[in-house]
Assembly symmetry: C3
Amino acid sequence: MYNPQLNSNGELTHLLSIEGLPRDVIVHILDTAASFMEVSAREVKKVPLLRGKSVFNLFFENSTRTRTTFEIAAKRLSADVINLDIGRSSTAKGETLLDTIDNLCAMHANLFVVRHASSGAPYLIAEHLTRVNRDIHVVNAGDGRHAHPTQGLLDMYTIRHYKQDFSNLRVAIVGDILHSRVARSDIHALTTLGVPEVRAIGPQTLLPGHLDKLGVHVYHDMAQGLKDCDVVIMLRLQNERMTGALLPSAGEYFRHFGLTPEKLALAKPDAIVLHPGPMNRGVEIHSAVADGPHAVILPQVTFGIAVRMAVMSIVAGN
Amino acid sequence: MYNPQLNSNGELTHLLSIEGLPRDVIVHILDTAASFMEVSAREVKKVPLLRGKSVFNLFFENSTRTRTTFEIAAKRLSADVINLDIGRSSTAKGETLLDTIDNLCAMHANLFVVRHASSGAPYLIAEHLTRVNRDIHVVNAGDGRHAHPTQGLLDMYTIRHYKQDFSNLRVAIVGDILHSRVARSDIHALTTLGVPEVRAIGPQTLLPGHLDKLGVHVYHDMAQGLKDCDVVIMLRLQNERMTGALLPSAGEYFRHFGLTPEKLALAKPDAIVLHPGPMNRGVEIHSAVADGPHAVILPQVTFGIAVRMAVMSIVAGN
Amino acid sequence: MYNPQLNSNGELTHLLSIEGLPRDVIVHILDTAASFMEVSAREVKKVPLLRGKSVFNLFFENSTRTRTTFEIAAKRLSADVINLDIGRSSTAKGETLLDTIDNLCAMHANLFVVRHASSGAPYLIAEHLTRVNRDIHVVNAGDGRHAHPTQGLLDMYTIRHYKQDFSNLRVAIVGDILHSRVARSDIHALTTLGVPEVRAIGPQTLLPGHLDKLGVHVYHDMAQGLKDCDVVIMLRLQNERMTGALLPSAGEYFRHFGLTPEKLALAKPDAIVLHPGPMNRGVEIHSAVADGPHAVILPQVTFGIAVRMAVMSIVAGN
């Protein structure tokens, strides 16, 4: 099957989705990220791998946090970073997305980091670039409900860091899987890396219908779903869900699906807890868990910088 | 006549308008831009000409696209770039424009890139600087309906690139010339560089009254105006015009003044088509022309980076 | 008394407030700033003291001018600067302030420049960092009505530059002292540096009640208050005060407390006039004073860059 992420040598040229990425490409990204971990801990946190390259942050959907992580990663690679407040720019003037892209290409861009509310927008851009300029690369920083591949990759980095081996793990993903691009990316990554048991836990209204086809086991009860898990990935409950028809209330949600120390005690004693942030304390996670010994939520952020440096240097490095 | 753009040696110290620029100054900018064309094509797209200099983007009127081109150009010259979201800043607090400028001068600014909705604002700043600090420079990035000199210069670069010589050209400018600072800058540049025949094509309501005094031939009919032209410069139709009293409708405008392949066939077979962007496809230009072999719209963008690097390095370089 | 600004060796590790800073720490900052004055006057205005460090501008309250001065200072120290438009970011998504800070720490931040509408926010952050990461530093860029220490320090730098010695000065602070963090910072700095006579001048409604406990002499009459002063520090009258219940009108205010050449003539012949900007000409200060020979308002801005470079390099330098 045609995969616009890989060039004819099977090397990563865009990062659009974890779906369709071969295992060895994922492992290469994680290994490269490991080599960048010490850069961020240095006195001078810079390497010259993207020196003189132009990285454009194209955030059609606002996300200060994600944009910041990419901006830091690019600057630590010595790139020139240009943030485009795209909501107020040419698209608002009636220009088409691909005309905007063509213009930025003509400025000799090297890398586009794209966040978009519409699923598939980064694919559209990457396919267009494949026709017009093969030296310009795209990294998907989240598109609609579809994918958030760098989040998925940093979750895998985190799991590998604490558990070493994927081949004997039981991993639970908890919450609003239906609307979560993080969950989709994680499921594809976990499966590709050989995790034998992936579980999805959440209310019927927040789980998609096709999970069994992805090899995911579905639970509507936390006690059953968390039992003997090695890894628990909590999802953020979007504010708009809390008041919608899909849920009775935030309090009700917390009572059933919020991760408390009591519920976490059902997982393995050395279980780790992940969360993509920003957390809603008291909604999907209890503060005693968020700040407790099982949480690896802040290390995820640290690993996330290294993973984004790895992805950017692999697709666009000298 | 006093010209605040030139110092007492006749060298460019501010770029405010193409009107009043001697031919040799324009040619020097174009020649310098040519020398920068290879920088943007390098692996490491940087030269140290503005290293350690502070370039302030003062966009009193928002324009993400133009701001981006200046930011890239400044960063490729190794300058420190500070973007001021000036709409939300001190001016909103009742400070005068010149107090804001004096403050930024006191921070040891080197170069102001100024975009302003009021015609003449960059002149006001430049004249003030002439009195208080002759080491700080202004580049006009568009002021009201008055001038957009870097756009005019990149249009000249584009024409010279494709046609080599200005002395035997027939150039048509099409559209809303009345409200266009691009058109004004282009007309002055074309005349100064010796183009023998400059034409303006548009509806009566969108053409200014004094064009003949500038040596421009006026046409209200595309078939007559485009006949045997070497260069066609299309202007963007501002959205606010389309619904105003000046025009019947966008569709009607396109029927009479939109550039279609059929109309373009009346120009010379090797005619080139320019557009300052962002394009309104189906309003002032047909997609078959925008994407066709005569269009040089994306090369304009590439040349624009080199032209802005040239202007900034000439006025503020070490 | 515990002072989170100083480490166990008495060295500056955060700058939160001038209150509680020992005299020798203040003098060390001013001396360091003096050494940076020549950097901003160079052709290449950069030193590598923060090279590869990550400085985050966390402006919970918008202030383009103050943010710009810190951004320039950090870039001249060769830091990587990341501006967080924090109003639109994670805090808006319900994340707590300290979760936001923890996340940025996990990205290996080195320095937070914090502006916040709530008094004490930078203290809260600094105390948190003291627990979680002692290698990350905070500089208060203005918190509520509480403190604006870099403004206070640059005012001291300015006074020392023109008057050399603090021990024989009479200094008047004029205007809305009640709501002014600048006034509070100045009063603590002047007292610590040994100024024998500090005066506060303003209407009853705009002066706090405890000034005498700080050793400040209170005046409600400009003629009496300005008499024989060496230094006059004017405060900005916030727009919201002009229409509020605290003042009759801007015109009335100017008549009583606006600094005119006539009133200034009552001070010493070599008196200097400071203002933190942006000025309201014709409200708190007459243009003839603002632009006259006694004003040192623009030098304040220049010294402010050097002072901010000094503070940042002292707390976070290699």
